[in-house]
Symmetry: D2
Subunit: 207 residues, 4 copies
Amino acid sequence: MDSSRPLHVLVLNASLKHAPKLSNTEELAQLVLNEMKKHFTIDATIVRLADKNIPVGLGYQESEDDEWPALVAQIKDADIVIFATPVWWGQRSSLLQRAIERMDAFDEEANTGGRSVLLNKVAGVVITGSEDGAQQTLASIMEVMTFMKFTFPPQCCAYWVGEVGKPSSEEREKRLASDATKDMAKTLAYNLVQMALLLREHPLREE
Amino acid sequence: MDSSRPLHVLVLNASLKHAPKLSNTEELAQLVLNEMKKHFTIDATIVRLADKNIPVGLGYQESEDDEWPALVAQIKDADIVIFATPVWWGQRSSLLQRAIERMDAFDEEANTGGRSVLLNKVAGVVITGSEDGAQQTLASIMEVMTFMKFTFPPQCCAYWVGEVGKPSSEEREKRLASDATKDMAKTLAYNLVQMALLLREHPLREE
Amino acid sequence: MDSSRPLHVLVLNASLKHAPKLSNTEELAQLVLNEMKKHFTIDATIVRLADKNIPVGLGYQESEDDEWPALVAQIKDADIVIFATPVWWGQRSSLLQRAIERMDAFDEEANTGGRSVLLNKVAGVVITGSEDGAQQTLASIMEVMTFMKFTFPPQCCAYWVGEVGKPSSEEREKRLASDATKDMAKTLAYNLVQMALLLREHPLREE
Amino acid sequence: MDSSRPLHVLVLNASLKHAPKLSNTEELAQLVLNEMKKHFTIDATIVRLADKNIPVGLGYQESEDDEWPALVAQIKDADIVIFATPVWWGQRSSLLQRAIERMDAFDEEANTGGRSVLLNKVAGVVITGSEDGAQQTLASIMEVMTFMKFTFPPQCCAYWVGEVGKPSSEEREKRLASDATKDMAKTLAYNLVQMALLLREHPLREE
């Protein structure tokens, strides 16, 4: 694996908590980023969506202080986008759902080449939850992002979920330290890097 | 079916559009409300979530101008709550997801009787979509609301979805006028009224 | 709660294991049945679908030795049907999916009153899984069964899932004994009985 | 795109209908195969799961006449596997679910290198449905197959669904001929071929 510039990695953290509050999801995403660095030089940015102003709507810019257009620029600049979300009642959080709704703007530009810019970007998924729903949340993200033209490498997800009825603070430490979690983070990191380098050197074409 | 006071019906409309823009979802919800009136006197309120300030978070009140507490009061006052949402990429909208996240506040009060107040309320679901995903969206709402203690009558949903690749404005008229849509609206309306009256007269108890 | 005859309860156990192998799902369903008996006299039958011959297809009877028609008779006789399934890769098992596909036969008879026979039956859900997916599995069952005309009482589900990477035999004992599991089983049992008695005395009508 | 031997393509058709009955799903899969041939030489096999004896269970071979092991050999031989299924009540069919359950055998062999054999295989999805649920069905397949080590190229799915309340025979012709369906088939075909050739020349490694 050799190539000149670092891989650009963007983490969209859809935690419901504002910084600097600890985000379980960000902790796991950070673990994945650390593993990625073992394989290649990366240039990583974590965006906490809870601290951005992303109004409801379907346009490219919904208000003067709408921070979505800046996010679009960051997505366009990334080789790898990691969709990181907590599970809330079996689904991605409202913040990730909002970002997905706003990605329709890519669609509107499509006539003039809009979403094609997402081709050859690689997607990964990071999920944490209090007790259940990681796989469904993963499924629902993959389904959207494949139509958005992202490529999914094998084992494209790292997650942990706690045990029903247990305090999530205790679960957090236990799960983050578990072998299953660490293995998923390692494999995800390695596969994201491999696939991104592969597509950089041999980009897919649109028909 | 006789009883004194009207049934209180609350529609949470999670359309991404602000009033007075036409909301497909609201149109269908209105059809259901009209059908309900044929069976019993109702007192209906439609809340367009896009026009409310409901910040991200998990507390009962997240900011001074947080409009969530007022919504909680409306939910508590309702006999029937209709969750009305468009489908965005296979899921309920970010606005409905936000409301669900905020309903965790009911949970926190649970020790002092919080969510018990939702027992004996009846839930219905109204969904519209550009092309696919109504049944999954329904599924994901039912799963949450059963744990929130709502009762679901038979055939608890009315929905329509358009055809992939077709302009949604054309699809809207066609679907809203279809027999399948009208039948679902009628059945939903009748079953919501029946069940709400039944639970008013014979409330379920908590163990 | 007084009424003459026992409530008929049918458990469709969609475990992949043949009897007499221990089925985690059946164990949890049994816990629910035991709790139901504390509230009312029940007459319960557990059917292990893995031991039935239910061929693929959409007809009422697909072969001479097709055991589906006998199951239809049992469903028709039940006041309460408990859909009990393990989670396999985020979904209900192939056996429950098969039963759902075969329930289309109820649909075909619908012109002559077919699925109306399911009105006033109450549905409950019991789920066990090795690590994730209970809530999605619940969601997907509720969505089907509401259109089949079943009523869902509040908190209509009891489930447990194990921890990713842990041997399921160890997890089984731990989860079955957890307070969260026991509470769900109790609440489900009580609510199923309450709702079934209510609908027996005050049956819903079709419009 | 140059390379010597043809790409091996395996279509697992999970239609509920036995051959030679027309399978909507197979028709659409065939459209995709035809498009693939425009880009590269392929060697395609369509297996109709309804005509195979695949008993319930989790072992590699569940009975003497179990046809699963032969399917495993076909999967191992494929460069591209297309998971083709109708939607039944919002989900993949019982036959695809059965195949997924049986793929656990790959898992059990994992210690001796089992599922690693799936690395560098590319997955595509083909779905048809009477009215709704394609995207959820796609989601649920992607989620499993990423953990099985398949790679998903961009826009990995072609599907059509009919309109609620309309006869499916009429809908079939209309949808199969629609531009949206044809575009999805073309793009899927092109992307599957591109990705399979890429991974043949530059295989991903396991960490």
